[in-house]
Symmetry: C2
Subunit: 223 residues, 2 copies
């Protein structure tokens, strides 16, 4: 199952539509859920997608638009404006409960405000999301971010992207990269560092990464 | 002295022009240097600003444009395409040597590729830039990022922004925020967290932050 969770940030609607189609084919799976977080619910409305769940305090949405969202949404969680968790955090908790075995594609999280972007990266690394983190992807037309915890991982090429970067969010021990243009073997990083613009080997659609300690983002990007 | 270092990412040229004017007034200082990194040199050319220094491998620029840059630039550092440091890292090292007491305003670092953005954040926190880090600002029209190391700091309001966020890049001990809507006193953060959408107190143009351990980004932003 593929869950699409739309936040408040900008992304290209045409890219989104194509991405949803490509995921359906890639995973041979037409089961989907569309979740709108705050302004993201309006974005689903504007793109004429279903709204399986709308989550947020909806402070940034006009009442008229909120009524349209409420009418179309199969389910709504209306949150208090003042709360300890962000709307995105609450929404990710909800989809993890509702659809525990899905792949989660989060749009509207990478453009716009840099503080929101960094907040999204750190919240997804929270311990409570550890059971689903391998299946969370932050995507827009030029960037796709996956979250890696210590261990061995396979990263599959996204056809639409060119570069493959590994950004350490902490010090890292024992980093090994295989099947890429710039491989590494048991590399140590005493301070966090971004290894950018690596690439999959020509003709290869997958690569392997392993490390012992720390947190790493795998980012596929294009200019 | 104000140094403007332009990278390859997108930003609004009109915002840049206004920002340069506002800095001149705010600091009562008309001494400036304009530095273009790779495609950033072309951006200076397009905006009809002087180029005091152009730095990069210039792989992403057509030869014709490179010739125009070379003709206009007072000085050029042409780098090898394959190297251990990024063009931005090399350029920041050069401006730190050339203009050691300046304030550094870096544009074209926040939009575009997320891997580039994170690479820029981590490289500026490198130990070699510790002597200048208090005077480094990453700016575009909706975000302005400053870099804080442990100690006491004053953050001054940027009139064009609305929100004030503090993003921990590491665990943090002893975080105190004064003169803001949501103050904190000796707050502990065992894992990194983004405290977003705080604000300066009404009528106050400055606030104080202190912490004992870790790295924090102060981000002023608007929607």
């Amino acid at each position: 199952m593929q869950v699409y969770l739309i936040g408040s940030g900008p992304f290209d609607p045409d890219f989104f539509k194509g991405y949803v189609e490509r995921q359906k084919v890639a995973h041979n799976d037409s089961e989907t859920a569309f979740v709108g977080v705050d302004l993201g619910a309006k974005q689903l409305l504007d793109m004429d997608f279903p709204i399986d769940l709308a989550v947020g305090d909806f402070d940034s949405i006009e009442d008229k638009v909120y009524q349209q969202v409420a009418k179309k949404a199969a389910s709504i969680e209306k949150l208090e404006p003042m709360k300890d968790e962000t709307d995105t955090e609450h929404a990710l908790g909800s989809v993890a409960d509702l659809y525990p075995n899905a792949r989660y594609h989060l749009f509207g999280m990478l453009g716009g405000r840099v503080d929101h972007l960094l907040s999204n990266l750190w919240l997804i690394y929270q311990e409570r999301f550890a059971p689903i983190i391998d299946r969370v992807h932050l995507v827009e037309e030029n960037n796709a971010v996956s979250f890696l915890r210590p261990g061995q991982h396979q990263v599959d090429r996204l056809k639409e992207m060119k570069y493959l970067s590994f950004v350490a969010m902490t010090p890292i021990t024992g980093l090994t990269l295989k099947n890429v243009v710039y491989p590494l073997d048991n590399y140590q990083m005493p301070t966090p560092l971004a290894l950018i613009s690596n690439e999959f080997l020509p003709g290869q659609n997958t690569m392997k990464i392993a490390f012992s300690n720390g947190l790493i983002l795998a980012i596929q990007a294009r200019d």
